[in-house]
């Protein structure tokens, strides 16, 4: 089960609101390459992993992605902090405000609500792990795009942190795949 510690994994302290950036970053909350998709994908796939090591890594990376979801949510919340509605209109993010106000909602940057169609979870661990490798690259590339768009160091720092975590997760999923291939190599799976 899960436990909560009253701190974010990386410090988020954004002093200057920026609603446009908030909406762009929202894709990593409820979008196709975002942290919610990642957590649900790995926490669902963990049930189908064949070895203790691979169960552990899916479990633990899935858990870390929930912590990253929290970082993204915090960033969006702080970037929208106290911005007057008329300002949001000028910045062309009023359509999202009309539905949610300045709240954090799981959608992509276009307001498309989160869907489990972004993830797959199969009984075949080799298929699962290859999807996980792809997912980490897509997340890493998305952080590349967001970092290029950002100017504020308070925004760039957490994004850089999250980007590097995707690189590390890719390595771990790669190792998990090596292990599963070892185990499955010893017996035929049909």
């Amino acid at each position: 089960m899960w436990f909560y510690e009253k701190k974010t994994q990386y410090p988020v302290n954004i002093k200057k609101p920026d609603p446009r950036m908030a909406i762009n970053i929202l894709t990593q909350y409820g979008g196709p390459n975002g942290e919610l998709a990642a957590s649900l994908r790995y926490l669902s796939q963990r049930f189908s992993m064949p070895t203790k090591e691979t169960k552990a890594i899916l479990n633990d990376i899935g858990t870390e992605e929930l912590a990253h979801l929290e970082i993204i949510g915090t960033m969006v919340h702080q970037l929208m902090d106290k911005v007057p509605p008329k300002e949001l209109e000028k910045l062309h993010v009023d359509t999202i405000y009309a539905i949610h106000g300045r709240a954090v909602y799981p959608s992509d940057s276009n307001g498309v609500p989160f869907t489990a169609a972004y993830i797959e979870s199969m009984e075949d661990p080799i298929a699962n792990l290859n999807e996980d490798l792809a997912a980490e690259q897509k997340a890493r590339a998305t952080y590349d795009y967001l970092i290029r768009m950002a100017d504020d160091p308070d925004v760039i720092d957490p994004l850089r942190f999250l980007r590097e975590r995707e690189v590390v997760h890719y390595q771990r999923f790669g190792e998990a795949l090596r292990m599963v291939q070892e185990v499955m190599g010893k017996k035929k799976y049909f």
């Binding site: 974010t8 954004i14 870390e64 702080q78």
Partner: protein
């Protein structure tokens, strides 16, 4: 940064190191070097958390120094802007 923020920054750093080492150990479960470094970071983290919670309140609900008030709910929560827990500057 004040003392609370400095302590919190150190805790964040050691807890992060622990998590990165945890993932490494999941795929390298008998790596003696990683286990040694994990143990050292764990001691640091536990020690710092003891100091932090005694002065500034709970980081988890499983910390109850007195039974007259429930401190877990107290502000700030990690996402609160300005004056939240995250005045940490790295």
């Amino acid at each position: 940064m004040d003392e609370q923020t400095t302590l919190l920054e150190q805790i964040m750093a050691y807890d992060f190191a622990l998590y990165d080492l945890q993932l490494f150990l999941d795929t390298h479960p008998s790596d003696a070097n990683a286990l040694r470094d994990y143990k050292m970071a764990l001691e640091q983290s536990e020690n710092l958390k003891r100091q932090y919670q005694a002065k500034y309140g709970p980081l988890t609900p499983r910390y109850l120094p007195n039974t007259t008030c429930w401190q877990w709910i107290n502000d700030p929560w990690p996402w609160d802007p300005k004056g939240g827990m995250n005045n940490v500057v790295l």
